[in-house]
C-alpha cells in the first residue's frame, strides 16, 4: 500500500482475538520472559496478581501484526506503547488504529498511527503510536 492510497483517518484493523493462557505461556518462553505472572494463574497469584497476565511485549507484537496486516509492505520504524491496565488471557480483545499524519522526505514515505488494544467494553488497556515507512 503506497502513501497516495492512504488518507489521514485511514483505519487499521480491527484485529479481534482472544489469547489463551497457553498462548501467553508459549510467548513468554519464546520471548525469554520467565516470570511466573506470565505462566499460570497459580504463579501469578503468588505475585499478588488476580491471575495470569499478558506481557506488554506481546501487546506490542499485536500492534506490529495489526500494522503488517493493514498496511501490506510497510516497515515499522518506531512503536511506543503505554500499558494502562492488566491484559488477561481469556478476554476478547480488539486491536485497531488510525492514520493521524502522513509525510515524505528524502528517507521515504511515512505515516503516523494511533493504536489501541481494548476489551469489548471499550476499556483501553494498551495505547500506542507508531511511525511506519510505506513502500
Amino acid at each position: 500500500m503506497r502513501i497516495e492510497d492512504i488518507d489521514v483517518g485511514h483505519e487499521l484493523g480491527p484485529l479481534a482475538l482472544t489469547l489463551s493462557g497457553e498462548q501467553v505461556r508459549q510467548y513468554s518462553i519464546a520471548a525469554r520472559m520467565p516470570g511466573g505472572r506470565f505462566m499460570s494463574d497459580e504463579d501469578a497469584r503468588k505475585e499478588g496478581l488476580p491471575g495470569q497476565i499478558v506481557p506488554g511485549n506481546l501487546s506490542m507484537a499485536l500492534f506490529s501484526r495489526l500494522i503488517s496486516e493493514s498496511l501490506p509492505g510497510a516497515v515499522l520504524k518506531r512503536l511506543n506503547a503505554t500499558f494502562r491496565g492488566l491484559v488477561r488471557p481469556g478476554y476478547a480483545l480488539l486491536i485497531h488504529g488510525v492514520v493521524t499524519e502522513k509525510h515524505s522526505s528524502d528517507h521515504g514515505d511515512f505515516v503516523e498511527c494511533d493504536l489501541v488494544l481494548e476489551n469489548t467494553e471499550g476499556d483501553r488497556w494498551v495505547t500506542g503510536t507508531a511511525t511506519v515507512q510505506l513502500p
Binding site: 498462548q23 508459549q26 510467548y27 518462553i29 519464546a30 520471548a31 525469554r32 520472559m33 506481557p55 506488554g56 511485549n57 506481546l58 506490542m60 507484537a61 499485536l62 506490529s64 501484526r65 503488517s68 496486516e69 516497515v75 515499522l76 520504524k77 518506531r78 512503536l79 511506543n80 506503547a81 503505554t82 500499558f83
Partner: protein
C-alpha cells in the same frame, strides 16, 4: 510533595551482553508465538528485539527513595537495521532518565532504561526505552 530524586545514575551503564548468533529456529519460534507475520524466514519479526534481554535487568545502585513494586509502564522501540539469521548482537543498557509524576492515585516515580542493540557490523538494530513505574 515531590521527592528530590537522586539523578546521578542517569547515563550509567549497567549491562553489556553479547548474544550467541541468531538462529533460524529462534526467529521462527518467536514469530510463531508472537503471531507477527514473517515474510522472510531469514529476517526476525520486528518485536524479536524484546527477546534480547541482558544478564542484568536492573541497575544495582537504584536510589533508595525510588520506591518499590516496579512494573512495566510502557516501552518505546525504534528500529534500525533488520536482524538476520547469523547476526551477533550486542545489547548495552543504561539508565536513561528518572522522573516523578503525580496523578489521581498519588505520586509515581519512573525509571527509563535504554537498551541499544547493535550487530556485528556496528549497525544500530534497535533502541528500546523501557519505562518502569515505582510507588
Amino acid at each position: 510533595m515531590a521527592l528530590e530524586l537522586d539523578r546521578s545514575i542517569i547515563g550509567s551503564e549497567f549491562d553489556r551482553t553479547i548474544f550467541d548468533p541468531v538462529t533460524d529456529a529462534e526467529v521462527a519460534e518467536y514469530a510463531a508465538a508472537s503471531t507477527e507475520p514473517q515474510p522472510d524466514q531469514t529476517i526476525a519479526s520486528p518485536t524479536f528485539v524484546v527477546r534480547l534481554r541482558g544478564r542484568r535487568f536492573m541497575p544495582s545502585n537504584l536510589p533508595p527513595d525510588l520506591g518499590r513494586a516496579a512494573f512495566d509502564a510502557g516501552k518505546d522501540i525504534e528500529w534500525g537495521a533488520p536482524i538476520r539469521v547469523g547476526d551477533v548482537l550486542t545489547a548495552v543498557s543504561t539508565v536513561h532518565d528518572i522522573y516523578e509524576k503525580t496523578g489521581r492515585s498519588g505520586s509515581m516515580r519512573f525509571l527509563v532504561l535504554r537498551t541499544v542493540i547493535t550487530n556485528q557490523r556496528s549497525e544500530q538494530v534497535a533502541v528500546i526505552d523501557q519505562r518502569m513505574m515505582f510507588r
